[in-house]
Symmetry: D2
Subunit: 344 residues, 4 copies
């Protein structure tokens, strides 16, 4: 294989992080998230959110963040509403249900939820015999590469507050969402419009770590108990601290997200020029062009990527992902290959 | 504060690990534990255990390892037996119960379980109204610094197999246990005598990571589902792989454990010479001398450590911990201080 | 209100049950299901199933039976497949998820599952990241009044055994299913084709009680622990025993089911004569005619029933249920009313 | 066997209940606790508690009541404190842990909790690493026959309110407690001093049923969801309603409790006259005389009872239980037997 466009976690991390770990390696630091790097990360995220009262907790991964947050804030009979494509619904091996909660899903072509999609779940009858929606789970960018506009997120936020629902954003790829060309949201907007969200490092230049932001003050009390109970409170929290302290210095995280997006946009533009359609709008670093199966087979001999699903006779959507570490040259070579194969 | 003897996770990691991470940083690697460093780690552990058929899975921390293992192998009405001092009983915020299982505890002065201590829990009456013990949880070294001999572990193992109990060893500090002066166990013994155990990196030279070893082949099937479901399957498994690949090269892990033990033994020897008693035998890198509260107060002005509990009028046991990174000079200075204060 | 066709649990129980309870009231009986009436019930069910090796356990209600059975036989990462209309999916307030398991649903117009509907759920990718189907939940009669034929159940059974799936039948209304005109299944067939099912008393002449039948011997061991742990092991099991001992004497249960079915069929025939369509085939004691909203409004002034859902402009499906205790005269009066209102 | 003193649930129920069930058998009643008998029961309990604002919910049994109540009011990291002898700790097959919560137990010779016994559990260190006590579970009468005085319950109540703990009383045998000679508590006191308790019918003249009383208004919202989710919301709630409607008419429940107590007290008095000691004070219908093993062996040939535990060389405590249905004549014959055997 020449190069893999299978995912955005194939490489290690931005060198600044390894430098930081090396330089601070032998200083004695308190455990469990009280180290200097973690405190620096928390301060940086508060500044980005323009809100000194938010709470920030660093945990290892996205599934862990999702299960901790969702189980912490729901009573046993309460459910979380998600898009059918939501990561919690498809790719977490039942992690949310294992904490005792139902995920209520709605189909949505672009992976995004809207008030109109959620409303029917609030009208269930009869009381007591059904679960009661309490949280709304969205991903930004979504599992299929799309992003929320400020208007869309505002509408959801207003709807949730009117209906006693907590809005939770999975931000495993928030860096890419916020650095996408069409984005008009800021971290401060997100802290204002959601109750809780997280900002991911793993998929954008970090080795490990998601920063859970408790924006709603009512959710902050005793949260560390949940982290400990789910096995997510790390003795050497400095490891997580180093990721965010470095990635949030000089907007590095968002610069890396922009790099990933730009390479994917180059790919998308070329596929469009070649006349190919897309399964979903190509907005971030995950794109889903619909290609002839013959072309896919040829490309797959040299490049790693995921065949998403059949879309029609002899055609399938593929998922191509670029990362903070993808070199321009690999994209150039790949697109040259596509072009040649498409001409034949 | 001059220096902290509070725990063995105040420093970063052995430099070899950072070097490895740096050197391999940009190579594209498969995610979720299929990277080269993880494969190398698994091979090294199989070799140490002299058993090519064991399964090895790397997870972030001890509480995570405990809750994944215990919930994976028990039916909902089955319980785990532990010493009252067991980490799962006291310091995991109810992590095991949160997975639905009762911990049945027995008091034991040295933190170790024996067949005689477990037997009464097997005689419960009446059937169906009580939980049914299925797993036995032990720690080596224990939470209070003691270790199991080969004879003790063999006795437990025989007892467990006779009584349809699975034996599980928490090895967060197994490196120290196996490099203790009085130890006569090997990794191969442990893989032979237990059903499942883990070998910790976090407390002995790693940044993060515990290696779960499924020694009993009946436990191996589908285990990765449990890891994923509990949020413990990391996209960049290479981070965990690098820890064990380096720590298991040339027995580095055990050399680091030996270093930690030796410094603690030096302390213990000096306290003994000064006439102080101990709460538990000083066998590894955690020692529990019983000191006058006045001495403790003075020492605490300059050194970090944990006051464990009152043991009598004006006397308390303290916990002093040394690590792979503790310098000889700090121990020397500390002991000089102890000596001077004791003479006054 | 003149009369309610809202459900089949509005009345008490067949008088034989009260007579039995009265006659045996002061005899001292062992608790927890070891009383004479329970033993008699178990023997009767074994005889009906033509299988002396099945295990039978009596519990209070359907949701309790469902949650005990499903949680007993699935590992935490395993899921149960159900029709979207399944009771466990819609009307149990998340009871199954509260035990830690995902329900994977498939849409189906008649409330019945087929191998073709289940197959796609077995092809999920990638391994470890998704739940793994282990049980198949069906209801007979279904939540929308339909029943399984012997061929349909056989096909499902073969498919499940080929795919390592356990087949579980919710028989809250099994009495009606087995006494329906078009039925060709026996209790013995069901015990042969499923792994576990239950036979309901509550909705067919009993005050309380569902008899869980463990047909697959591999499921029998230690099952009483699950019953106890879920709070379902009753001190005075004689109460449940009396229900089944009497209902299974001289096929009383099935005679009562037949009575309920016949009255519903009379209704269905009349609605058909009047030119109304049905949401689902009218096979048992639950029928779903599609009526003008104006007619529904008039009928609702005198009769209790449930408006199921809008089906088009000015038309809705209603659910009419008859029971073992519904008198012929009430059905006659109701149909006269329908006829008169339809003519206007 | 001549007669069983093994428990207080060997017989059926008071005839008034069967009469009520028979008389109302064919009236159509709403399901799920909205029937006339349940409404009558709720009104009767509100009157007994002298509080129209309490909520009352009827469920089948004690373990079900315990697991519903405890899981409803605790966050996942919160624990319930109980006496080591508590029913939830020993005889519910891990039902509470199966809902995800740790039971923290304290040894107590008489089965009763006091502030002094609970206080140490509130001082745990360090935060986040341990569970946090939130509920206190007591039984009245206790599992070993003793009862709380008004002063003792008041002290506990004050302590709990000062420490943000919810006080929960298991009243499976509350009828006996409140009709015991030394009792000075009323239902109104209990509704005032606890946050939630239940009043049992099963062990005092009913066939089935425990009435959960939510005295603390903050606990009342949405409680029915928990009942439904745990499988405890019965279609024919009229069955439970009939128990309490009849047992609470003219204080029948407490008269039956008094009868059971009086017969046990007769036994206790005679054992005392014969010089035997008791394991615990004989205050209600469960007594624990300490008898010679030879006498026990002889008595066991004719009478059913439970040998509780060895108390010394050749001596054991036995548990003798009388019920609302125990005839005076059986007690007389038993005591005659005891006397004769003791003389030999």
């Amino acid at each position: 294989m020449i190069y893999s466009f299978t995912n955005d976690y194939s490489e290690g991390c931005h060198p600044n992080i390894l430098r930081r770990l090396t330089e601070t390696n032998l200083s004695q630091q308190p455990g469990y998230g009280n180290d200097e790097a973690t405190l620096e990360s928390v301060a940086a995220i508060r500044a980005l959110c323009r809100n000194p009262d938010i709470d920030v907790h660093l945990v290892a991964g996205g599934t862990l963040a999702n299960l901790i947050v969702l189980s912490a804030f729901m009573k046993s009979y309460e459910s979380v509403v998600a898009a059918e494509t939501g990561h919690i619904n498809n790719h977490e091996a039942g992690a949310i249900e294992a904490t005792g909660h139902k995920i209520e899903t709605v189909p949505t072509p672009d992976g995004k939820l809207t008030p109109a999609l959620i409303q029917p779940l609030l009208n269930k009858f009869p009381e007591f015999h059904t679960v009661k929606p309490r949280m709304v789970y969205i991903s930004n960018s979504t599992e299929i590469g799309t992003i929320y506009t400020k208007q869309e997120l505002t509408d959801l936020s207003v709807f949730c507050r009117q209906n006693n629902l907590l809005l939770f954003m999975d931000g495993a790829r928030l860096a890419m969402a916020l650095s996408a060309p069409s984005n008009d949201l800021t971290m401060a907007d997100i802290a204002h419009l959601t109750d809780v969200f997280y900002l991911g490092a793993t998929k954008c230049g970090g080795l490990i770590g998601e920063a859970i932001v408790l924006a709603n003050p009512a959710l902050q009390k005793d949260f560390k108990y949940y982290i400990k109970q789910r096995g997510a409170l790390m003795a050497k929290g400095r490891l997580f601290g180093a990721q965010f302290a470095e990635l949030l210095r000089d907007d590095l995280l968002f610069k890396l997200g922009k790099h990933a997006n730009e390479l994917a946009q180059q790919m998308a533009a070329r596929f469009q020029e070649l006349g190919y359609a897309f399964l979903t709008p190509a907005q971030t670093n995950q794109i889903f062009p619909i290609l002839p199966d013959t072309l896919i087979a040829e490309l797959n001999k040299k490049y790693g990527f995921f065949v998403w699903r059949k879309t029609g006779e002899g055609m399938s959507a593929v998922r191509l992902i670029t990362s903070w570490a993808t070199p321009q040259t690999e994209v150039d070579l790949f697109l040259k290959e596509v072009e040649q194969l498409s001409r034949n």
